[in-house]
């Protein structure tokens, strides 16, 4: 690397956009063209091409490249500032380096190997750090590799052209082999990758550059603080941001929110959260007698001083005033009160003490005012103090009135509200640590203002008043006690940073110390001072002049360079050394120092300086007085004497000459020595300066440490506050645990005491717990039971299927089951009836335990059973009917006395043979068959038979019913039955049947006669007398109708009485239909009735009745389609049934009436007058079909016709 470049100091650029350096050689132009073609116009990046160019050739690269892209291409001129969205090209025969966002050109050295890429990349790396991106395109040689490495080392990103696209891959490959390349791409692909990288860079925002997200977050934090300022009136802007953010983030975490932004939204609408955050930010960590040594120091050193200044007399106008700033919940204030009380002892009542305790938090103040503390909060209070200063009230301690009365609590923001005045002691412990130095300063100024002349300031352990060292002087650095410096207190109501600047001017305060007093004596003194006292200056410890007195011009002059008031710098030549000497001596000894005859202006003037340390100043100050001695005169005399000697005394000349020589020599020596001394002094000065700067560094280091210390203290307090919270939570947990324990003991007590067996099962039904009753009842031990699956207890003796079923159901639905009884033969306990109650007990993870209570109700059930049986027998006995019971296999076990009396059969015989000897022999087989059927199928037994009555030997009809008694397990335990005498009913029924038949017969007989005669008449006419023939025919028709009506009426009567008889046989329905159609066709010539379809199977039913149905449907079809000429009848076999349809093309039936037409006495509305009939035909039809287990329905299209369907099962 050329030497000239090596020493160029590079400055890190503040540019925040990526700067891409591209190194290229042979074949690089083509690659670079491809590259820039792919660059978007607003990529936000700058591209700098370093191309190996021929030194003599005048390059026209920029023009060539500009044709390829819209991005501006320019040749680098010296000191050009790098801007984004530009392409920069190296000019020929130049070296390019980047510096502080500027490109510099230098001539290319002729002798050295040309490595412009390396050189440029190195500078790029240093200047743009991680925003530097290096790309090596096609080329020969190894230029660029070292440069890429540099870029990589500084956190930048590197790329190289892949060997496929590169015309000469020597340069990129070299870099790749050296493992300094992050991406190997073709030139076209590079821009896309660069854009991605740029986005990432923006996002990461390393090196303190604010990434977008961070900016937003920052904004959110600021907004939160602003919100608090508006809502709570407290400005946290200058609080330690780390702390504030930690507290905010803590709330965010507690609320399970993801982003600060979310929290801000939440906070905006939630007043409660604002208060919580506010309280949280205040970190109310405090305690009684925090740092006890501090209090000891107060008692030992501070209070005596303070009390000394107060005349102790009742009603003095000056009470002892103490301000506790940031008192939190009052502990500090009370501690102070106690401490003072103890110090003063019996003098307390005679001293007026006012302790002002203030805090920003209303809540804390309210707590403080109450003066009530829990035991835990009083840890710092010794037992004796507790006795003396607190009264115990229901578990809490309240501060006694005498201490309480000393304290005045107020909500007060000392950063904002006007401060208290004339305070003797301000304590503000661990408040400043939360604040930025600026706020600290403000606070300290406030305290300074508040304090009396000799007031004290007490700060927290890790706080200092260093930021306002002008105002406070350290009284005890260990206990952080400061005294007020005597400056005119200026309450600094700072609201902006500008005033802070003003405060930095340290001399300000001193000057303002000058006070004019209207006093002639003083005036006189002033005149004397100005006229007759020697000129002088007052300097401070740093030897900076703080005051000029009189005319100091002859002694002092402004030194060239930076303006300085340092007396040593201002001293005229020759004076500086002595001044330094004197000042140092005086400073170290504390005594005045005087030195006379100091030559000034080459000895023309002799000056005496006096350095007097000023007494009784807080900071050491020195008065320097300059006095002229009559040096010039003596010098002249001396010189005159010398010349006289020269002329007058030749004798002495030699001697004089020797002397002169000697003197000259001495003078020279002296001058030399002086010169040496001066240079030594200068060196020392320089060394001093260095020391000074070192000191400053140390100071700033110390400040940093201080900040760190404060930070640590803050963290400590936060931790303490968290710890307190944790302790509270822990206490709560402990209490809960205690409660839990009690609850458990309680539950256990219940479980062990109760008579019922109890089990707790886990989700997989293994026994988790069981009580003693359980072990006793089922002869089990803990060892065989616990942890075992309940169903596997006692060698699977507990595998009760229904129990398993119930438990699984419970498991599934999480529902308890109650009062479930089962009788089961348990392995050890034998057959027991157990009543189970189970209840799921929810556990975590959606798992459940099952509480299973087993109530052994065997004895109760047995007693009940006996009781029930007796009851049942009594009932069966008392019924005036035949009753009986039978076992599950059908064998008779009991007949009541009623039966025995009725039949005259003795019980024993009855139980053996059953009904055999009593039942009508014809019916016995059938009855037995039915009985066995019921026993087998558990269907209820229902049978009618005749039983012989012993008294008259008559067989009387009985209806016998028997039902199976089924227990919980679904098995039949017995049958219970009755037989009721229905003989009377039977005979009445029979009489009725007969009557109906008779009525039918009687009604039809005259019809028969009439019809027969009419037919005779008809036959007798033989076509003669046509008019009469028509009459006869009409009469005959009327007779037929009458006959039908009679039949229908009878049928209806029978249906009503449920005695419509059926004669069920297999018949050929095809034939039936044909017959019916034929017979209808005889009387109705108008319609052609067409039959379609045929079925193979025979139909089971009453053929006559089915005929009746078809006739009815067909006559209806005829009747209701007077205008039509055909009727379609269809028969169709369907799945398990035969479907017959009758379709007419008549008037049809409206939809709403379609369902009503099968009702009895219903007639189609509006047609009653037109069509005749009783309206019972279809209802009979329906009855017949339904009695055949078939269906009948109709479909209709009003005005177009209807179709009636019926089905019969086959």
């Amino acid at each position: 690397m050329p030497k000239a470049l090596k020493h160029t100091k590079t400055t890190v650029s503040k540019n925040l956009f990526p700067v891409i350096g591209i190194g290229a050689s042979a074949g690089g132009l083509e690659a670079f063209k491809k590259f820039i073609r792919a660059i978007p116009q607003n990529s936000g990046m700058a591209y700098i091409l370093v191309q190996h160019l021929h030194p003599e050739h005048n390059s026209s690269l920029p023009e060539i490249l500009q044709r390829e892209t819209k991005v501006k291409v320019e040749e680098v001129s010296d000191n050009v500032i790098v801007k984004p969205n530009r392409v920069y090209i190296i000019p020929a025969n130049k070296l390019l380096i980047a510096n502080d966002g500027v490109l510099r050109l230098s001539p290319r050295p002729k002798d050295k190997k040309n490595m412009p890429v390396d050189i440029f990349f190195s500078s790029l790396a240093e200047v743009h750090q991680n925003h530097a991106i290096g790309i090596i395109l096609s080329g020969t040689g190894e230029d660029g590799t070292a440069g890429l490495k540099k870029i990589k080392d500084h956190g930048g990103i590197t790329m190289a052209q892949d060997s496929i696209s590169a015309a000469f891959d020597d340069m990129p490959q070299n870099a790749i082999r050296s493992e300094v390349v992050d991406f190997i791409l073709s030139p076209e692909e590079m821009p896309r990758q660069l854009l991605d990288l740029e986005k990432t860079l923006k996002r990461i925002g390393e090196d303190g550059t604010a990434a977008l997200g961070q900016v937003l977050e920052e904004e959110s934090f600021r907004n939160i603080i602003a919100l608090l300022r508006v809502r709570n009136g407290a400005d946290f802007t200058y609080y330690k941001q780390t702390t504030v953010r930690r507290r905010i983030l803590r709330r965010v975490a507690i609320l399970k929110l993801e982003k600060i932004d979310d929290y801000l939204k939440y906070l905006k609408n939630n007043k409660a959260e604002q208060d919580i955050l506010f309280q949280d930010l205040l970190i109310p960590v405090t305690g009684f007698f925090r740092d006890p040594k501090t209090f000891e120091y107060l008692s030992g050193k501070v209070f005596p001083e303070l009390i000394k200044n107060i005349p102790i007399a009742l009603g003095t106008p000056n009470p002892l005033r103490i301000w506790i700033a940031g008192c939190s919940t009052g502990e500090e204030a009370y501690s102070m009160g106690i401490c003072l009380y103890e110090y003063l002892g019996n003098k307390t009542s005679a001293t007026r003490i006012q302790i002002f305790a203030t805090d920003i938090s209303e809540q804390s103040i309210a707590k403080a005012r109450s003066g009530i503390y829990g035991k835990r909060q009083l840890e710092g209070v010794s037992e004796s103090r507790l006795q003396q200063f607190f009264t115990k009230t229901d578990g809490h301690y309240q501060i006694k009135k005498n201490i309480r009365d000393l304290c005045v609590f107020a909500s007060h923001n000392f950063l904002k509200d006007p401060p208290f005045a004339k305070i003797d002691l301000v304590t503000c412990r661990n408040v400043l640590i939360y604040m930025e130095p600026f706020l600290q300063k403000k606070a300290l100024t406030t305290f300074h203002y508040a304090l009396n002349e000799k007031g004290y300031l007490l700060l927290g352990k890790s706080e200092t008043a260093a930021v306002a060292s002008d105002f406070f002087l350290t009284a005890d650095s260990r206990e952080k006690i400061y005294t007020r410096k005597s400056l005119t207190g200026r309450f600094m109501n700072v609201t902006s940073m500008r005033k802070e600047e003003a405060l930095k001017d340290k001399d300000y305060g001193v000057r303002s110390n000058e006070r004019k007093k209207d006093d002639f004596q003083k005036n006189a003194e002033d005149i004397l001072l100005s006229k007759y006292t020697p000129a002088g200056v007052i300097v401070n410890e740093q030897f900076d002049i703080v005051q000029f007195r009189g005319s100091t011009g002859p002694y002092l002059e402004p030194s060239p360079g930076k303006a300085s008031l340092n007396v040593l710098k201002m001293a005229r030549e020759g004076l500086s050394f002595e001044l330094r000497n004197g000042l140092h001596k005086s400073k170290s000894s504390g005594k005045p120092f005087s030195k006379g005859n100091i030559p000034l202006y080459d000895g023309k003037k002799l000056v005496t300086i006096d350095v007097i340390p000023l007494p009784e100043t807080i900071d050491p100050h020195f008065l320097i007085l300059f006095k002229d001695t009559q040096a010039s005169q003596s010098q002249e005399q001396y010189e005159a004497a010398v010349s006289q000697n020269e002329t007058g005394n030749k004798n002495k000349r030699t001697t004089d000459r020797v002397k002169d020589a000697r003197i000259t020599q001495l003078e020279k020596d002296l001058a030399q020595a002086r010169e040496d001394m001066r240079s030594i002094a200068e060196d020392q000065e320089a060394a001093n300066e260095e020391l000074q700067s070192a000191n400053e560094e140390l100071l700033s280091g110390s400040e940093e440490l201080q900040t760190l210390n404060e930070e640590l203290e803050t963290s400590k307090e936060e931790l303490q506050s968290t710890n307190e919270e944790l302790i509270t939570v822990n206490q709560e947990l402990y209490d809960r645990n205690e409660q839990l324990n009690q609850a458990r003991m309680y539950a256990e007590g219940i479980v062990t005491t109760i008579h019922e067996s109890m089990l707790v099962l886990t989700a997989d039904f293994s026994v988790k717990n069981a009580n003693n009753t359980f072990y006793e009842t089922f002869s089990l031990t803990e060892k065989d039971t616990l942890g075992k699956n309940i169903f596997e207890l006692q060698n699977n003796g507990w595998n009760i299927p229904d129990l398993r079923k119930n438990l699984l159901k419970l498991q599934e639905k999480k529902e308890k089951f109650l009062e479930w009884e089962i009788t089961y033969k348990f392995p050890a306990a034998g057959e027991r009836t157990i009543c189970f109650n189970a209840q799921p007990i929810p556990e975590e993870n959606d798992r459940h335990l099952i509480l299973l209570a087993l109530d052994d109700i065997t004895p109760r059930r047995e007693a009940e059973k006996i009781h029930t049986l007796q009851n049942l027998k009594q009932i069966l006995e008392s019924i005036p009917q035949i009753t009986f019971s039978a076992s599950s296999n059908g064998g008779f076990t009991y007949f009541n006395n009623f039966f025995l009396d009725y039949s005259g059969v003795p019980l024993k015989k009855a139980l053996g043979s059953g009904w055999l000897s009593v039942i009508n022999a014809d019916q016995y087989d059938k009855a037995l068959k039915a009985w066995n059927h019921s026993i087998r199928t558990l269907e209820n037994f229902y049978f009618e038979f005749q039983l012989r009555r012993k008294s008259d030997g008559m067989y009387r009809w009985h209806l016998c019913r028997a039902n199976a008694i089924i227990n919980d397990e679904g098995t039949v335990t017995s049958w219970v039955g009755t037989a009721t005498d229905i003989d009377e009913q039977k005979s009445k029924e029979k009489a009725k049947d007969e009557f109906i038949s008779m009525a039918s017969h009687e009604l039809k007989t005259p019809i028969t006669t009439a019809k027969a005669f009419l037919q005779l008449v008809e036959h007798g006419m033989d076509g003669k007398n046509k008019g009469d023939a028509i009459y006869v025919k009409k009469a005959s028709g009327a007779i037929d109708k009458l006959n039908n009506l009679v039949s229908e009426l009878l049928d209806v009567t029978k249906i009503q009485h449920g005695i419509l008889g059926f004669n069920i046989l297999l018949f050929n329905i095809n034939k039936t239909l044909r017959d019916v159609i034929e017979s209808i066709q005889v009387t109705d010539k108008k319609h052609k009735i067409i039959l379609s379809g045929e079925i193979k199977k025979k139909v089971k039913g009453d053929e006559e009745r089915i005929k009746q149905v078809v006739i009815n449907l067909l006559t209806n079809a005829v009747k209701y389609s007077p205008g039509a000429d055909k009727i379609l009848v269809d028969i169709l076999q369907e799945d398990g049934s035969v479907k017959v349809s009758v379709k007419d093309f008549g008037v049809g039936i409206s939809k709403k009436n379609l369902n009503k037409i099968f009702d009895r006495y219903y007639r189609e509305e509006g047609q009653a007058g037109y069509f005749q009939g009783l309206g019972i035909g279809l209802s009979i039809t329906k009855e017949i079909i339904s009695r055949h287990n078939g269906k009948i329905w109709a479909e209709s299209d009003p005005g177009k016709g209807s179709t009636f369907y019926f089905t019969l099962p086959i």
Binding site: H1001, L1003, T1005, I1007, K1011, A1012, Q1015, I1039
Partner: protein, 135 residues
């Protein structure tokens, strides 16, 4: 009496009209309103076919049929049940009747059933041979 038809019915009108119809068709008809002496009647009339109403005084038609069918000498004579009862078919089967005629009837039905049971000359001949064994 050859080719004679014997009709039992307690309704005299029915008997009269039946007699008229059948005589109109050249049948000889004897009618009785009571079944009191049925076997005697049959022996006297020697009918080719008997029409029996189901409910006639003194004796149930059904019982009367049984009586006929249980008697050796009358067993072969066809008996047609002749009634307005609905269950006439059932009864005819139960009582071993040779057929039934539902009241009210048409003349056609009446003649049909007659023809089915005494088909013309053969019947006549049988009657003839039976009644005149001497020929």
């Amino acid at each position: 009496m050859e080719n004679c038809i014997l009709i039992y019915d307690d309704d005299r009108e029915i008997l009269a009209v039946s007699k008229l119809i059948l005589e109109h068709h050249n049948y000889q008809v004897e009618t009785r309103a009571s079944c009191k002496q049925i076997i005697e009647d049959i022996k006297l009339v020697k009918p080719a076919i008997i029409f029996m109403d189901l409910s006639i005084s003194q004796m149930e038609g059904e019982d009367a049929i049984k009586l006929i069918k249980n008697n050796e000498s009358t067993r072969e004579i066809p008996v047609i049940l002749f009634s307005a009862f609905d269950n006439i078919k059932e009864i005819s089967i139960r009582s071993n009747a040779n057929g039934y005629l539902r009241k009210p009837f048409t003349i056609a039905e009446f003649i049909d059933i007659l023809k089915q049971n005494i088909p013309g000359g053969v019947c006549f001949l049988i009657f003839f041979l039976n009644n005149f064994p001497g020929i």
